[in-house]
């Protein structure tokens, strides 16, 4: 493993080993134990597009392991605006750091960067493309919450058409032999280029009521206003896919709800205090998972 551009770059074995190491690193991620495994290493975080969670969790992960970070959170402060190409920028940064996290608004940018970099490139999200570390932390969360990663019935709800997190997660969960239930309005259903490649059982539904009591995990995504030409239609659809504590009475008591965050109205705040809510723990899990990945790529001592 040299670069991590897409979750499909990682084998099932590599994913399992990252999740295992992430579990061991939880106390370090919480600051309860100290580690110097990446002492002296430098991570560059190059964010050509804003992202709070991804950037901050990478920086926390690196520093908890004794490494340091350089980088930028806003391309307006860089030579990018002077017309510098991504390739030139990456070649420069690769000379300054031991690994690079790249967030860029265009699809394929991380792949292009990986072709031009001596040091590992980690894709921190490329437009509507891939975001492999989000998938890893989603898998880690499911494993931690459910105590296993196989044989689960995982529901995905909301914008399945444009949501890149659910596309990558579907592929990854299929590798681990789970059943997937896709719940969305027809206009936002899971695209065929995703379902065509799924090696597991899956089904599509318009209403959550059809499957709620069978689900072990419910992964909720935001339905974005921009996807609807008509505001009335948006309000109608968004309302039909809201998760409230009332609705959850029909769910298994062990069912867990995940959400990549930020959340708007799709999960009512009254769900936060139920046993189902796992999304804040999921956000924390970004730290140990990224620590484990950085150790693998940078050859940190265990």
């Amino acid at each position: 493993m040299k670069h991590v551009v897409s979750i499909s770059d990682l084998s099932k074995k590599q994913i399992s080993s990252i999740l295992k190491r992430a579990k061991e690193l939880v106390p370090v991620a919480k600051g309860k134990k100290k580690s110097k495994s990446l002492d002296g290493k430098i991570l560059a975080t190059c964010f050509f597009e804003p992202s709070t969670r991804t950037r901050l969790s990478f920086e926390t992960a690196m520093q908890r392991l004794g490494g340091t970070c350089i980088g930028f959170a806003d391309p307006s402060a860089t030579s990018h605006l002077k017309g510098e190409t991504l390739v030139d920028g990456i070649k420069m940064v690769a000379g300054y750091a031991d690994a690079v996290v790249l967030r860029h608004p265009q699809e394929g940018s991380a792949h292009l960067a990986s072709e031009n970099s001596e040091v590992p490139i980690i894709n921190g999200g490329d437009g509507a493309g891939q975001h492999p570390t989000q998938t890893l932390l989603d898998l880690f969360t499911i494993k931690e919450e459910m105590k296993k990663l196989e044989g689960l019935n995982v529901g995905m709800l909301g914008d399945l058409r444009y949501g890149r997190t659910v596309h990558s997660l579907s592929h990854a969960l299929a590798k681990f032999n789970n059943k997937l239930s896709f719940i969305s309005p027809d206009s936002l259903s899971m695209p065929s280029h995703v379902t065509d490649d799924l090696s597991c059982k899956w089904s599509s539904h318009n209403s959550i009521d059809e499957v709620l009591n069978k689900l072990d995990v419910l992964y909720v995504t935001r339905i974005q206003k921009e996807r609807f030409p008509d505001m009335e239609e948006y309000k109608k659809v968004a309302k039909a896919y809201i998760i409230s504590s009332d609705l959850l009475k029909n769910a298994k008591s062990s069912m867990r709800i995940l959400h990549p965050l930020p959340r708007v109205t799709e999960i009512s705040t009254d769900v936060d205090n139920t046993k189902h809510a796992a999304y804040f723990r999921q956000a924390f899990n970004g730290v140990p998972v990224r620590m484990a990945l950085l150790e693998q790529l940078l050859g940190g001592k265990k």
Partner: protein, 152 residues
């Protein structure tokens, strides 16, 4: 006179592309830009064929195809045969193999793909030859069906 009435005249030197998917000949001429190159070209369309019900045939005089032209041809009509004619005799006969990937030869239809936005970047596609022929952008992952490939 009889020569002029014959459907096809043999050529002395050049290239005969045979077994082209029926109706695809014009697109091959356009995509390979063959007509602009000044040599005599004959296009036969919907010629009865033993292998398929009909085929197109292109005869190009005094010229052979370059590697990049052959690769484009393979994508446009995967089963086409290329015959090199020297002194009225077929000197070589090949089915052009499909390349595993093509570079700087087609355009990714995704406007937000880095290959369309980075100065100096070259497009790159892998070839997926399953039930139907598709190409896939190695950068953004977009898949394009054979009929929709936009060549440079």
């Amino acid at each position: 006179m009889t020569d002029n009435l014959m459907r096809v005249q043999p050529i002395r030197n050049g290239t005969v592309i045979d077994h082209i998917k029926a109706g695809r000949g014009q697109k091959i001429l356009d995509t390979l830009n063959l007509v602009d190159k000044g040599t005599t070209i004959t296009l036969l369309m919907h010629v009865p064929s033993k292998k398929n019900s009909s085929k197109d045939v292109i005869k190009i005089e005094d010229r052979e195809l370059s590697d990049s032209e052959s690769q484009k041809l393979a994508l446009l009509s995967p089963k086409a045969h290329v015959n090199i004619i020297r002194n009225f005799v077929v000197a070589e006969k090949n089915v052009v193999p499909l390349p595993e990937s093509i570079s700087d030869m087609a355009i990714c239809p995704n406007d937000n793909c880095i290959s369309n936005n980075e100065r100096g970047a070259k497009s790159k596609f892998s070839i997926i030859n399953g039930d139907s022929l598709n190409i896939q952008c190695v950068y953004c992952g977009r898949k394009i069906a054979e009929d929709n490939i936009k060549f440079i």
